[in-house]
């Protein structure tokens, strides 16, 4: 019998009343969270372990998941972070010389509920039309109506401050995790990396480009970070609503102008807010490994890895007017209380702002994931730009 017919009957319910019936895999149980879809065709292990997915039930649009199993090198954090995982089919028999365990086994040990055998495309189109929704997966409550109403009782993503739930409890040296920083590109910089739910590959890329990072918990006060006088500060990715992550915004404000800053994803949103901008929730976000982003400085298009539900509003500085649906041709320059800034990177699919750079203080950030994992390596150059920003000419 094929994979789909094994495993207990399981329901996935949405706040709009839709219910999908499939088979459970991974751990039995019941979880609630925001349902989002990811269009990457490979990299499920990185997705599962990306802390930015905390509080979310991830639907993979590619039908076969778990084909090459899981291994000890690819996780993006020490554990599975998604609340739930929904796929068309989870492979029972992985194949790869690096494979150590099955996808199902991985979820089971992490106590995460998975559902397979459902029409993930229909679910994806529904999310596309109605937006990311509150949802729940249960192997216990198999009464559709009751599950739906309980889903409707759960809180949404908006206003959720989740970074502190996934950040490191104590400061630590990145080298413990990813080894010493490479001296190849010359001078090694000592930097501080603020962990709002940081992906491990960011630390690897930082180390690879000669940055020896000390990782700080999300709520570390600016003073403590600056006291270690780092050459630069990195603001990491992370889950939740940036506007609700007040400590992150304040930290950014206090750091701006005092030390070079590089932000990714949530880090980018916090920087944007610190600069006096605003953020908004995208209808269903960007999650995948094929998003075209244009860097207006040079005009190159990068195929990029994304995972975000919120974005910085390019009009946030000039009230009233509406967001562009396609990127501008000239680099827009905005005025902030920290001086002028350029809106450098734009998403070619929907015109979302994807990156900015301050002109009067040393700081830049991108909404997407130059560290990839999963995804293309087109944007690695940003780690080099961070070096330059820190005075590596």
């Amino acid at each position: 019998m094929s994979a789909r017919n094994t495993g207990p009957k399981t329901l996935l319910a949405l706040e709009d009343g839709a219910v999908y019936e499939g088979k459970g895999f991974g751990a039995p149980g019941e979880i609630f969270g925001e349902v989002v879809f990811n269009t990457a065709m490979s990299g499920y292990q990185e997705v599962l372990t990306d802390p930015s997915y905390a509080g979310q039930i991830v639907v993979m649009t590619y039908p076969h998941q778990g084909n090459y199993g899981t291994n000890r090198e690819d996780p993006e954090s020490e554990s599975v972070r998604v609340s739930g995982f929904a796929v068309r089919e989870a492979s029972r028999r992985p194949s790869s010389w690096r494979s150590e365990r099955t996808l199902s086994g991985e979820l089971e040990d992490a106590g995460v509920v998975g559902i397979q055998g459902i029409d993930t495309r229909s679910l994806t189109l529904r999310i596309r039309e109605r937006g990311a929704m509150r949802s729940g997966v249960s192997t216990e409550d198999l009464d559709p109506d009751s599950l739906v109403s309980r889903v409707q009782g759960t809180p949404g993503m908006e206003g959720a401050d989740l970074a502190k739930t996934v950040t490191a409890p104590e400061p630590y040296g990145a080298s413990e995790l990813v080894g010493p920083a490479s001296a190849e590109s010359g001078r090694v910089f000592k930097i501080a990396a603020v962990d709002f739910g940081m992906k491990r590959n960011i630390l690897r890329r930082l180390a690879a480009s000669g940055c020896e990072a000390t990782v700080y918990p999300a709520e570390t006060p600016a003073g403590e970070i600056l006291s270690g006088n780092p050459a630069g500060v990195f603001l990491s990715n992370g889950p939740g609503d940036p506007a609700a992550t007040k400590y992150g915004i304040n930290l950014s404000k206090e750091l701006l102008g005092k030390v070079p800053i590089f932000g990714i994803c949530l880090g980018h949103q916090l920087l944007g807010l610190a600069l006096g901008g605003t953020t908004y929730k995208l209808k269903f976000g960007h999650r995948g490994a094929n998003q075209p982003v244009k860097n207006l400085r040079g005009g190159r298009v990068e195929v990029t890895s994304h995972n975000h539900g919120f974005a910085v509003d390019p009009e946030g500085w000039a009230r009233g007017s509406t967001r562009p649906s396609s990127p501008p041709n000239e680099i827009p320059v905005i005025e902030t209380q920290f001086g002028a800034a350029e809106l450098t990177h734009w998403n070619l699919n929907d015109g979302t702002l994807e990156g900015l750079r301050c002109l009067d203080v040393p700081a830049f950030s991108v909404q997407y994931h130059p560290e990839a994992a999963p995804g293309p390596h087109d944007s690695r150059y940003l780690f080099e730009e961070f070096r330059k920003l820190m005075g590596d000419a």
Partner: protein
């Protein structure tokens, strides 16, 4: 960077005839490119010798030259048209090689033509194996240990260095031609000798063998601003050692972690940049060691390829179209993704389904050929299937193949037989790649071998084997069950695993319609999803669908009435691109007439499966199960089954039974023509002569019939296409063998025996009827006599030797039959003219192979006309609208001559006899057109690959039957200064006639003999008409040696006559080429000077006989 304004006209080179390794995928890419370039306002000049292509239709280019794809002919076109740029990357290897030749010889520079897309240097770096090695090494990209050699000595030295086994691969070769493995110096030496010859540049690569590694391909695109994206990743199910073209492949890749995939992507982008392809698409191949992940680059093709056609269909990203736009200066982010209509082409498509490609082989046509799959491509076509899982897609792919039983997995005969033998031989069997290997895999799993044992033996990745094992388990659960006992869950599960109704029927011992009824009773019906390039992230505008067993369907209801066009399926010998051509025309015609054209087809190489071609595209198998599902979803006003060849015709009855209207000729009428027995009565009743015939159920009956109709006879099975297993039998002694083979080819049908009309002129007619009147497209006169399959013989428009009265009789027969059968749409009639009498050989109430040729030659769009007739228009109306010429004998009065010649794949199948017979063997055709018939002939012959020598040695050896008739052409050749060589008998005859000739030894007469001469290329043209059949005759050795050495070999007398005329023409000076737009617009003179009365040599050739 907007489009280039420094260019106003462009030359596009097509890929010529369909050959193994280069099929209609290049018609697809060329057509896309021509369309978009014209839309951009460029003047497009096209050169292609293949008349069956859509791209050579007058409306797709501003000037279309149907000329040989040889540097000289293309040069002539350039000098006449003076294009400013040449786009070399869309015409496959052929187009690329011609472009390179023109660039290297300075022709392009002299005429101020720039190569756009890929420059000469880039092409060289990619195509020449040593250049590739160097470039990759410099870019720090990993390669197999290897070296290139131009001599046997260096080859041996390199082999010592890299270590045996090694693979030998010639540079600039198509579809792995001339490559192979060597396990020791001995075998290496042989291989290298051959490959050095087969490589146009006399260079071979000696490389460490990676047999058994995993093979992958990436399709990459790059624009002028150096933006580069990967369109698709493809994983081969068959490991390294089986040519990707012969491998079952899957998109996207299934067994790579993101790390490995991204590394491969990095390599691919670094590769296209290092090679320096400025703009366009490239195909890059990788091998991965399953034990440790070591990844190496195998090859890069700096052009669109078979794989990019597959990738385009698999992802919805139109690679060729975008490549053309990039070549004229656009950037990826300036081009919109048609499918979403809003997002740009600067992205990487993501799939939420699985695509499986399975190659289609034709070994049954070449009994002597080796059926093992190697590094040399042997498949003649392919199918693609889309499903939500690998299992579903694989199941759909199997039934798309139309190879009876191939979708039955372990129950497939070939697999079942092996099971009889011991376990060990079953496992050993897995190690050899053949077209049946996956059925063998199922068989092994069924017999209890573990996934790992099977994977290890076959080197097929365990993931794939395990997927298959799921299907096997489910199928077995159904075996022996009563249909009525199968519940919804089990039925649904079986269908989700891609198990066909036919297979369920077999397992439950029931009939397919019963399975269908059971399914609908249980409410188990497929839904249709959309191919949208983005995994559902954006709404799709294009209705490009595939069926699957899920919850939600995405088919939109249509505003206009819909017509389903059932396509032709995979290319195969006997049914190729010509039928796709007709389907595409139907789609265009229907759209223009205000209908929604709904295309159903499963061939990824074709124009018909481009989402731009029809209003709705269903990428589905052409089986009752799947076509009915589409009809169910679309509720069409009717279905067109007469354009896709035999494939859709077979569905007519079921479709009608299920309540769908067949447009055009009624199914009963189709039967009347297809069933030779019934057809004979129709002919008799109309008083139309036909060869005497009978049907035999056993040898004894066969003997009786043969005796009564008189030898020689034609023996054939009923219900087959392309003259399958058809033979001419000259006497009792041979009868037995052929009757049995015929019986095998079509078991439960009688064997048909016809009187063989020896030495008859064969004639083909394509016509359209609306039930009232008939429009004759053309009467084509064959060059070879009846007895050579119409698909393999050359033919000429206007008919050169048939008298007007004969043509009148032929046309009258067409009218009678069309009316009697009530034909509505196309019909094809084959006749034989002998002793002033005209016999009907067969009638096909459908589009034929020659429809595109006739349309190109006459300018009359037969397929369009037929389509409009099928939806109720009358020929009268269409004539008024100018679609049909006033002159009913239009084709007789053309002022230009068009010759169709066949292209044969013997070079691919070492050991296959090259003699032409009633069984079709050609893969494609070419057209030669000129105002002078000699030149038209010559062009056709040159295009078909039999490059005619203008001087040198001609070896002659003919059957007794032909000895008298050979004198005339032999004399002519001698006069032209050729040195004649001949074996005993023939030599005697020639010298007696006063023709100087040098005798040479037959094989049977010891060495050195004729075969040695041929091997050493001391002969430039071989003339050998068969005497005695089958392997191990002298003729067989001579012909196969010629094929291997690539020396033109003519096997029929008329063929010889034609060649001589061609040679004469080539020696005279050619008039500058003309575009078909010009040919078709010139006023026609009353009576074409190209039609003389029959030359005496014509009938002479029927004298004598070998018995």
């Amino acid at each position: 960077m907007p489009k280039r304004t420094d260019i106003s006209s462009l030359l596009v080179i097509g890929s010529g005839p369909i050959v193994i390794g280069q099929a209609c995928e290049f018609d697809y890419s060329g057509t896309q490119a021509c369309r978009v370039l014209r839309r951009e306002g460029y003047r497009v000049v096209l050169v292609n010798s293949n008349p069956a292509t859509i791209m050579t239709d007058p409306e797709f280019a501003d000037a279309t030259y149907i000329e040989p794809l040889e540097p000289d002919s293309v040069k002539a076109v350039i000098e006449r048209e003076r294009p400013e740029a040449l786009l070399p990357t869309l015409g496959g290897q052929t187009g690329l090689n011609v472009a390179v030749a023109l660039a290297e010889s300075g022709v392009l520079e002299e005429n101020g033509v720039r190569l756009i897309g890929a420059g000469l240097e880039a092409i060289r770096r990619a195509e020449d194996r040593s250049g590739f090695q160097r470039t990759m090494a410099e870019a720090g990209l990993p390669l197999p240990r290897a070296g290139t050699a131009t001599s046997v000595e260096t080859a041996l030295r390199i082999a010592e260095e890299v270590g045996y086994p090694v693979i030998v691969r010639p540079s600039f070769m198509l579809g792995g031609g001339g490559s192979g493995f060597a396990h020791d110096p001995g075998s290496l030496e042989m291989l290298v000798r051959r490959s050095l010859l087969s490589s146009p540049v006399g260079e071979v690569l000696i490389e460490e063998s990676l047999e058994g590694w995993k093979e992958f391909e990436l399709e990459v695109m790059r624009d002028g601003a150096d933006n580069a994206v990967v369109i698709c990743s493809i994983e081969n199910v068959d490991p390294m050692g089986v040519h990707t073209g012969d491998s079952i492949t899957v998109a996207p890749s299934q067994t790579l972690t993101d790390r490995e995939y991204q590394q491969m992507r990095d390599y691919a982008l670094a590769c296209i940049r290092a090679i320096g392809v400025e703009t366009g698409g490239s195909n890059i191949q990788f091998a991965v060691n399953p034990a440790d992940g070591r990844t190496v680059l195998i090859e890069m093709n700096p052009r669109v390829s078979r794989s990019s056609a597959l990738a385009s269909k698999a992802t919805g990203f139109p690679i060729a179209k975008v490549a053309a736009l990039l070549a004229v200066g656009y950037r990826l982010d300036e081009i919109t993704n048609d499918i979403t209509g809003e997002t740009p082409a600067a992205f990487e498509p993501t799939l939420d389904y699985v695509v499986v490609k399975v190659p289609r082989f034709a070994f049954e046509k070449f009994p002597e050929a080796d059926t093992r799959l190697t590094t040399t491509m042997k498949s003649v076509g392919e199918v693609m299937a889309i499903g939500r899982t690998f299992k579903e897609a694989l199941g759909k792919a199997w039934r798309s193949l139309e190879r009876p039983g191939m979708d039955l997995g372990a129950d497939y005969a070939a697999a079942a037989t092996v099971s009889g033998s011991s376990d060990t031989s079953l496992i050993q069997g897995l190690a050899t790649a053949t077209e049946h290997r996956l059925q063998l895999v199922e068989r092994a799993l069924l017999e209890g071998h573990s996934v790992d044992v099977v994977a290890d033996a076959s080197k097929i990745d365990p993931w794939f084997v395990d997927q298959i094992s799921e299907v096997v388990a489910d199928a077995e659960a159904l075996r022996g069950k009563r249909l009525g006992d199968i519940d919804r869950d089990q039925m649904l599960e079986a269908k989700r695993l891609g198990i066909s109704d036919a297979r369920i029927a077999l397992l439950t011992g029931d009939e397919e319609p019963a399975v269908r009824r059971r399914r609908s009773k249980l409410g188990v019906q497929p839904v249709f999803k959309t191919v949208d390039t983005c995994g559902g992230e954006f709404p799709a505008r294009t209705p490009y669908h595939y069926s699957t067993y899920e919850e939600e369907t995405e088919v939109r209801s249509g505003e206009r009435p819909r017509v389903v066009i059932a396509g032709a399926g995979p290319n195969r010998i006997g049914q190729g691109i010509e039928f796709d051509y007709a389907c595409v025309h139907a789609a265009f015609a229907l759209h223009d007439a205000g209908y929604e054209a709904v295309m159903v087809n499963c061939n990824p190489e074709t124009v018909s499966t481009d989402y731009d071609t029809s209003d709705r595209l269903y990428f589905e198998p052409l089986t009752e199960e799947d076509v009915l599902a589409v009809c169910g979803a679309e509720q069409p006003i009717g279905v067109i089954v007469q354009l896709g060849g035999q494939t859709p015709l077979k569905l007519a009855h079921t479709l009608e039974e299920e309540g769908y209207r067949i447009l055009g000729t009624r199914p009963e009428a189709i039967d009347l023509a297809e069933d030779r027995g019934k057809f004979a009565t129709v002919l008799a009743e109309l008083g139309i002569p036909a060869p005497m015939h009978g049907e035999a159920r056993n040898l004894e009956e066969a003997g009786k019939i043969a005796a009564s109709v008189g030898f020689p006879v034609v023996v054939r099975p009923s219900y087959v296409l392309g003259g399958r297993a058809m033979e001419i039998v000259y006497g009792e002694d041979e009868l037995e063998q052929f009757v049995t083979t015929a019986a095998e080819a079509s078991p439960d049908h009688p064997v048909l025996i016809d009187r063989f009309l020896e030495g008859a002129i064969e004639v083909d007619v394509d016509a359209v009827s609306d039930g009232e009147e008939v429009v004759i497209g053309a009467v084509m006169e064959h060059i070879e006599e009846a007895g050579v399959h119409s698909g393999d013989s050359s033919c000429v428009i206007p008919p050169p030797t048939l008298s007007d009265s004969e043509l009148d009789v032929i046309e009258d027969i067409v009218w009678k039959l069309a009316k009697r059968l009530g034909v509505r749409g196309l019909l094809n009639l084959q006749l034989a003219v002998k002793d002033e009498r005209i016999w009907v050989l067969e009638m096909n109430p459908r589009a034929s192979r020659t429809v595109p040729f006739v349309s190109k030659a006459t300018g009359v769009p037969l397929a369009k006309i037929a389509t409009l007739v099928m939806i109720g228009r009358t020929l009268g109306d269409l004539r008024k609208e100018g679609m049909i010429p006033e002159d009913p004998a239009h084709y007789r009065h053309l002022s230009h001559v068009s010759v169709k010649a066949a292209v044969l794949p013997f070079g691919r199948f070492r050991g296959a006899d090259t003699v032409l017979g009633p069984e079709m063997k050609s893969t494609g055709e070419v057209m030669g057109v000129d105002t002078d018939s000699g030149f038209a002939l010559a062009k056709a012959l040159v295009s078909s690959g039999s490059s005619l020598p203008s001087s040198g040695n001609v070896f002659v050896s003919v059957s007794n039957r032909d000895k008298r008739a050979i004198l005339f052409p032999a004399k002519r050749l001698a006069d032209l200064g050729f040195r004649l060589l001949a074996t005993g008998g023939t030599a005697a005859v020639l010298s007696r006639a006063g023709i100087s000739v040098e005798p040479v030894a037959k094989v049977s007469e010891g060495e050195p003999n004729v075969v040695d001469l041929i091997r050493e290329r001391k002969v430039d043209l071989v003339i050998n008409t068969p005497y005695g059949r089958g392997p191990r005759t002298d003729g067989y050795y001579i012909r196969t040696a010629a094929a291997t050495a690539g020396i033109p070999c003519v096997t029929t007398l008329p063929g010889v006559m034609a060649s001589v005329r061609g040679i004469e023409a080539l020696r005279g000076d050619a008039s500058p080429p003309r575009s078909i737009q010009e040919y078709l617009s010139v006023p026609r003179n009353g009576r074409s000077e190209n039609r003389t009365d029959r030359s005496p040599s014509r009938t002479a050739s029927s004298a004598g006989g070998e018995k």
